[in-house]
Each structure stands twice: as C-alpha cells, then as structure tokens.
C-alpha cells in the first residue's frame, strides 16, 4: 500500500477547500449590507427620473415609479448635480462584506450612457463658483479608515488614497469643460469644517489663499 505524506501544500489545499464553503455560505446566506428594508425615491432635478433605493426592486434610476432605466446604486445627495441633461453623481459599490467605495460618474439622461469621471472618488458638493468639489481616493467613513486593514490593502495600488485617513486630494471639477481645474492635497479634508469652507468659497478664493 502506498504511504501518502501529509505536506504543507496538502494543508493549504484543505484550507482552500473548507474555507470556500465557509466563505460562500456565510456571505451569500447572510447579506449583512442589506438587512434593513428600504424604499426611497429621489427626483433628479425637475426631470421625470428618480434615483431609487429599494429592498424589493433593483437599485437604479427609474422613469416614474416602476420603469428601471439604469441599474446601479447612485447618490442623490452629497453634491450630485444635474448640468443640462447630464447627471453627475456618486456611484456606490459594495464589497462582499458590505464596505462601500464610490466612483464619480456622469450619466446622460437622454441615452442613459454612464461614464466614469474619477474612480474611488466622491463628490462632496458644489463650491460658490459652481465647480464640483471632488475628494479623490475617497474612502467612506463607514470603512472606519483609521483601523480598517482592508483600506491598507486597497491603498497599495491606489496612490490617491492618502496615508492619513483624514487626508485627501481635493479637486475642483469644471462641468462645462469636463476637466479638473485645480487640485490640492489637504491633510484635514475630512474634517467637517473643511467641507463647509470649500463649499462656501469660490475656486479663486481657495486658490488665492
């Protein structure tokens, strides 16, 4: 009879197989991110379209109450802006554990073509001169960025995410030229007072200081 040797590689194989069971059963049976039922709709400007969050229907942009035109989790607040027929907003994406990352996207409300403006970024508002204020390399507070080790892994391949959880690259995005007109690294970007400061001032005021 052949004697089989138990090696480290065999151990790894067993770990892979058994943890697959635990991970997939654990994550698919209990979706922790959506245990609270929601049903909210927010009108986009004066259009007939709504951003809808629902536990019973897919998240997305709806025409009226029930006609889904674009699937996805889009923001309606935090500086989402309708410029002409283009909707600038944050697209929220969950990881398996319900952690949230966002991209800034623009959606053409005629063709419903979505285009990513900046990855891992978040619109935080509109400044006094009309440019969108975008925090690049943004990690939502729900990530508990100070202690969350997943954020460290995320950051390895994204140089925009700052080492300090309070810091961010703040950019002013001009919607008419579709480009970033000014950027600065702010070590205190995530302090509430800083957001108020940026929103209440024009770009020239901030740049001039």
């Amino acid at each position: 009879m052949k004697k089989t040797k138990f090696t480290f590689n065999s151990l790894l194989l067993i770990v892979a197989i058994f943890s697959a069971l635990v991970l997939f059963i654990g994550i698919t049976m209990v979706d922790m991110a959506t245990i609270l039922p929601v049903e909210d709709s927010y009108r986009i400007g004066d259009t007939e379209y709504f951003v809808r969050y629902s536990s019973f229907h897919p998240y997305g942009i709806y025409r009226g109450n029930d006609q889904l035109v674009l699937k996805g989790s889009y923001g309606h607040d935090w500086g989402a802006a309708l410029v002409g027929n283009t909707y600038y907003c944050n697209e929220m994406k969950d990881t398996d554990f319900g952690l949230m990352v966002t991209d800034v996207v623009k959606i053409d409300l005629t063709t419903f073509k979505k285009e990513t403006v900046l990855r891992n970024s978040m619109i935080r508002g509109k400044c006094a001169s009309g440019e969108l204020i975008i925090y690049e390399g943004y990690i939502s507070p729900t990530w508990s960025p100070d202690v969350n080790p997943f954020r460290c892994v995320f950051r390895v391949s994204d140089s925009k995410i700052q080492e300090d959880a309070d810091a961010a690259v703040v950019s002013w995005y001009d919607t008419s030229s579709d480009s970033i007109v000014y950027s600065k690294t702010d070590p205190n970007a995530h302090h509430n007072k800083r957001e108020e400061y940026y929103i209440s001032r024009t770009l020239e005021e901030v740049r001039g200081k």
Partner: protein
C-alpha cells in the same frame, strides 16, 4: 527506512534551507486568512483593532511587494474580500507546488531555484526600503516584522547557496544513501 533527526536531514541535504525559507513564506502568507474568515461571520470586525486584525496586518506586511500589489489590484477590481482570500491561498499553494516540483526535478534545477529565489528576496528587500508611499502602509511595526521575515528567508537561502550546498557536494555518497533510504 532509516530515521534521521531534523539536524541530520539538513546536514544530508534531505531538507534544505531554501525549502525551509519557502515554507516560512508560505506560513506567514496564511496569517491574514483568519481575519477574513472571521469578518464573514461578523463584518463589523474590520472597525476594531483585534488580535485577528493584527495577524492580518502582519501577514500582509510579510507578503512580497509585487504579490501584495497584484492582490491589491485584484481586490480593487473585484471588490471582493473572498477573491482576496483565494488570491492569497492559491498564490501560497502555487508557490509551494511549483518550487517543490522544480527542486525535485534535478540538483541543478534546485540550485538555480535557490539563486532565483535569492534574487527575488533581495529585490523584495530593496523595494521595501524605497521611499514609496505604500511601503509603510500597515504601520511601522508590521513593516519591520515583514522585513525581518524576508531578511531571515534571504539569509537562509544565501546560507544554502554559499555553505550548505558546498558541504553537500563533498558528501555525494552520503546524499545518495539518504535518497535511497527515502525511496
């Protein structure tokens, strides 16, 4: 089959220091896994510093920089901690299987493997001290641990290349006997 002590197995070349370094790297690669598994059951764990998250950081800081970068890309692309988990496990497994296959093929291939491994570890150590932003990502203490693990492995491989393999060359008969005993 004749039984040897571990020290004797190293002396006879049944075990090599390169093999030991490979096992050490595989073992530390597994440190992040319990945290990911635990988060499956209680996702809010990521919001607290716990012994498991410390293990996670230690393990991540010990991974090769290139591997860590690729895992980070995988995590960002897939937005999945499960993908990250299997990325780590399968990389460790593939690393172990490939190196074992090469080492077992011939003495010359085994020697080449040691050289390649030493170069790779040396390059990794150099990358770790470059002033790249994410080099201190997991905290200074964790990065020192990761550096120390890699340095020890580098030392083991160099020792194997410089001293141990030469010593074995002088005892071909003993080696042959040992491999016969193993068979």
């Amino acid at each position: 089959m004749k039984k040897y002590s571990i020290a004797e197995k190293f002396r006879r070349g049944i075990y090599t220091f390169t093999g030991l370094a490979i096992r050490v790297i595989q073992a530390v690669s597994l440190l992040p896994l319990p945290f990911i598994l635990a988060c499956t059951g209680y996702w809010a764990l990521y919001a607290h510093e716990t012994p498991l998250s410390v293990m996670f950081r230690l393990g991540m800081a010990s991974l090769g920089r290139v591997e860590l970068f690729l895992l980070s890309l995988l995590y960002r692309a897939s937005l999945s901690e499960v993908a990250l988990f299997f990325g780590i496990v399968l990389t460790a497994l593939a690393f172990g299987l490939i190196t074992k296959r090469i080492a077992a093929s011939s003495e010359r291939a085994s020697h080449t493997l040691s050289i390649v491994f030493a170069v790779w570890l040396g390059a990794d150590l150099v990358i770790r001290v470059l002033p790249i932003g994410w080099n201190g990502n997991f905290g200074t203490g964790y990065e020192i641990f990761g550096f120390a693990v890699r340095l020890v492995c580098f030392g083991l491989v160099i020792f194997d290349l410089v001293f141990a393999s030469k010593k074995r060359e002088t005892k071909p008969a003993a080696e042959e006997n040992a491999s016969n005993d193993e068979a």
